[in-house]
């Protein structure tokens, strides 16, 4: 089945035809439908893990209640409550999210997401302080590049109340741009070539049935 689907997509790219393109769209939609069912598996796993913790009264089971309650609240707000108007059967098949769902998204998920990732600023800085040591030339290159990139994105003239001009504040963003566009790009492009060749090789192995680890066993 994987062979047929894979070969169809490859052939369709090299021999484009209106029927083939339509088929490609259809198959991509099919994959999204199957992906929705795969999400059920993931959610069931989340539910089972937390439900077992609650049932067995394992340590910190109360937080599992919080997780499941938050999940239930969001699903209720988005699917069952919806717009809050009309009969339940109608709300269940309404595509537009209601205001309560959006309110929860904007006031709970967005700030939690941003704060959680902003917290990493402290931990990355602390880890860098503990591990970055200019032991050799390579380490010095890494540190210098990182420092220039960080300083290049900071308006230093405003920070030190300096007039804008030809001092380091004006030059730093230019140096930042040059490093990003040339030496850093060269290193990344070298990695990218390897990734691309690896992805093509793995895709071919999957289509030809040589690689079957994703099927388990």
């Amino acid at each position: 089945m994987g062979f047929i689907a894979g070969i169809f997509m490859v052939v369709n790219f090299f021999v484009p035809h209106a029927v083939g393109t339509q088929g490609e769209w259809m198959l991509m939609e099919w994959a999204r439908i199957i992906g929705a069912f795969a999400l059920i598996l993931g959610l069931a796993s989340l539910f089972r893990t937390h439900w077992n913790k609650i049932r067995r009264r394992q340590s910190q089971w109360g937080y599992s209640v919080v997780t499941l309650a938050s999940f239930a609240l969001m699903v209720w707000a988005g699917i069952i409550y919806g717009s809050g108007q009309g009969p339940l059967a109608e709300r269940l098949v309404t595509v537009k999210s209601g205001a309560l769902f959006e309110w929860l998204f904007n006031n709970v998920q967005v700030p939690l997401d941003a704060t959680m990732f902003s917290l990493l600023a402290f931990f990355i800085a602390s880890a860098a302080y503990r591990t970055f040591r200019a032991r050799n030339f390579e380490a010095i290159l890494l540190i210098v590049a990182a420092i220039i990139i960080m300083l290049g994105r900071v308006p230093m003239a405003e920070l030190f109340n300096l007039p804008h001009g030809e001092h380091i504040d004006a030059k730093m963003p230019q140096i930042y741009e040059w490093i990003m566009q040339f030496p850093a790009l060269a290193g990344k492009r070298g990695i990218l070539f390897g990734v691309a060749l690896g992805a093509i090789a793995t895709s071919l192995r999957i289509i030809l049935g040589i690689e079957r680890s994703h099927l388990g066993g």
């Binding site: 929705a36 969001m74 595509v95 939690l112 999957i206 289509i207 994703h214």
Partner: protein, 239 residues
Amino acid sequence: MPEAQQGTELVFLGLTFNPEVLGLWLQAVLTFAIFSFLWGDNRVYKFAEHVFVGISAGYGAVIVWQQAVLLLLVFKLWPQLSAKADVTADHWVIIPGILGLLMLTRFMPKYDWLSRYPIAFTVGLYAGTGIPRIVPAYLLRQMGATMKPLVPGADVGWWVAVSSLVVLVGVICTLTYFYFSRPHEGALGVSSKIGIWFLMVAFGAGFGNTVMARISLLIGRVEFLLYDWLPVWWPGAGL
């Protein structure tokens, strides 16, 4: 909570709330709860962390329900359920519907081998989609962008030529570092050594950008607390 929908005041347990103000307070409390981790792992942080997991999973479920299950499956099988008049029936979607159901046989150990069909279909499909797209985007265009004019002339300034040479040398040297079929000695050793230098600059740049992205998020949260939430809590703060 219809009141919240209309943006009017919400009465709960005898207390009157404005949904916007309530939202600001909720954001502030959750922000402080997450930041409390800097002091050490604690119950408040754990509570917020688990709320985040639950809300995110719920959000994903709702979006998939609306965008995939309803639009791509349910409305195509039963167009009369859709509010839009132009939805047409497409009974072919019963095939991915059945394949999706086969995915759920993972719950039944006796029949879980059936779940291999939808997995094989999806993985094979994306593998087939990937090859023709990777070759032009990640190989051919990248190679073209690497081979820019190296001789200064009327159209190419000397600094542009030097920069293009840096890219060409950098890419070749980085690739030789990943060439493991021969020992890295002699010219190959020198080339791979220079390749490591370019990799170090790339990693340093990646690290610097990651830190600054996190710092931007941090600035965003601090700005929220100072300019959005604090004036609500302390109107005379004047920030």
